[in-house]
Amino acid sequence: MSATAISTSGSLLSGKPLRAVAAVILIVNGLFPALWILLTSFKTEAELTLKPITWLPHAPTLQNYMQAFADQPLLIFLFNSFMVALLSTALTLLISVLAAYALARLNLRFRGLIMSLIIAVSTFPLVTLLVPLFETMRALDLLNTWTALILPYTVLSLPVCTLVLTSFFEGIPRDLENAAMIDGCTRFGALFRVVVPLSAPGVFTAGILAFVNSWDEFLLALSFNSNPALRTLPVGIQLYQGEFAFPWPVISAALVVGIVPVAVLIVIFQERVVSGLTAGGLKG
């Protein structure tokens, strides 16, 4: 009796048809918006105003992509986004590697307190920094510079990266490090020659999280860097909208160009990203 119950419930909940339905739901939910934008980016302006609307482009065109690069300095937006994300990621990694090493390896008296502080900072609302940072950046003449964004973005990712790295460092046996130090390495030598290489996957994971955080940020970028030459991609995309016109195919093309770099990163390193997101902390 109980055996039949197991087999029926088993076939109901893990059978092939159910799995197929589940996969369709998950994939449509997750990928449809990006797919729709991709389809829109291949449609002509004329096709877009057909009623009822078409789903697949009738005459696929790359015109919108050329338009996207011609109408606005899309390459410059990409470059700004990329450099700000890259530099803030590098700075975040450097600082959080040092901090995480201290938290994972040393017998610190206030370790518990420091960890609580880091978690508290990870929940800090970035919006509240907008006013004082705007005032400071304005006073220091740093509005419309990469620096205005790199510093806050570093702070944005620092807690998560420190937590991810601390848990990775804790997983590396101490003996390896001690052996290196007996062989004449200093502590810093052991950190950068033994611990960092061994925790490369962790460092990399933390790096991706920091990069995506910077790439996605909108509010500070919008507030600090309004000069078209210094806009990051999310802010630059707004420039495609005219006062009355909303050229959706061109905007879609620009969005696709903006989604592809991070999507490629995610596709290649998906497992690491998941492990980083779930191991180190929760932010997003």
């Binding site: 934008i37 919006v127 006013v131 705007f134 200093t186 996605d216 909108f218």
Partner: protein, 315 residues
């Protein structure tokens, strides 16, 4: 002074420098800890602690950059102005409503997605990607994409509604519909991250618990409520707190979808802070608004820290 004694002096100085250098390179544990944590502390001090102090101070000032007048201490005048400002109340109420709708919404949808994603698929990567891509999609992009979805003439939402025989709507002309569209978008964006966290939690639950429940004759539904949910609780609580704080800061999606309109009916507190600070350059009032935001999210953080310390104390 002879040449040799001077040479000795130089040698001595080099020696002490070398000693200092080696102490710096190979310090004792406490010094090292301080050294390693110093960059993080400096950065957090400069970019969080100092600005927050400045924020609190500025909230008591009449400081508007457009007037060019010097800052004037006005006590609680900014907060008083806030209490009488209908847009402040509207924006705060919208923010709280968005939080109350999208946090449970993202939890329910995320839990559903996680349960589906936890099925024994032969190929895992499509499922994993369909949770990761929405997470990696910038909020501002999600706002734009969904604004296009909800377009009254050529949007896919109205198209689908028409196909199933329902009338489409002019989503962004009505405060209610615009608000609903925003909440839907936020829920979609947040649920995939929620699902990933819950999925990780699901995978730590030992199979043997379910097998034992099967033997005892407990059905799937009972197993879900008596094994899955209780064991997921710590994961869910943490995810909910982070989600709550993010929801209180909602900016990108309504900014991109409606710009706060029609009127100010979909404006959020973050949007109002941004408008007063960046567009009106009224830093005093902007600061007072930000103080409210700060207090709101600190309350949530306090709850969180108490739960964590409680859990560690129980261990």
């Amino acid at each position: 002074m002879t040449v040799t004694s001077r040479l000795e002096q130089v040698a001595e100085r080099v020696e002490t420098r070398r000693a200092m250098l080696s102490r710096l390179l190979d310090p004792d544990e406490t010094t090292l800890g301080a050294l390693l944590l110093a960059p993080a502390a400096v950065l957090l001090g400069g970019v969080i602690v100092y600005p927050v102090c400045k924020l609190l101070y500025t909230s008591f000032l009449d400081l508007s950059l457009t007037s060019g007048a010097p800052a004037r201490f006005v006590g609680l005048a900014n907060f008083q102005q806030m209490l009488e400002d209908p847009v402040f109340w509207q924006a705060t109420w919208n923010t709280i409503l968005i939080t109350l709708i999208t946090v449970p919404g993202a939890l329910v949808v995320g839990l559903g997605l996680a349960l589906l994603a936890n099925l024994p698929f032969n190929i895992r990567w499509p499922v994993r990607l369909s949770l990761l891509i929405p997470w990696a999609l910038p909020l501002s992009f999600a706002g734009l994409i969904f604004a296009w979805f909800f377009h009254s003439e050529y949007g896919v939402v109205n198209d689908v509604l028409n196909r199933v025989g329902l009338p489409g709507a002019i989503w962004f002309n009505s405060p209610r519909l615009a608000f609903a569209a925003i909440c839907l978008t936020i829920t979609w964006k947040a649920s995939s991250f929620m699902a990933m966290i819950i999925l990780a939690g699901l995978q730590t639950i030992p199979r043997s618990l379910y097998e034992a429940a099967d033997v005892d004759g407990a059905g799937r539904v009972r197993q879900f409520f008596e094994i899955t949910l209780p064991l997921l609780k710590p994961t869910i609580v943490v995810a909910l707190i982070f989600r709550t704080i993010a929801a209180l800061q909602t900016f990108d999606i309504p900014y991109m979808m409606t710009g706060g309109g029609p009127g100010t009916s979909t404006a959020t507190l973050a949007m109002y802070i941004h408008q007063n600070t960046v567009s009106f350059l009224d830093l005093g009032y902007g600061s007072a608004l930000a103080v409210v935001m700060f207090i709101l999210s600190m309350c949530v953080t306090a709850v969180y820290l108490r739960m964590i310390s409680g859990r560690e104390g129980a261990r």
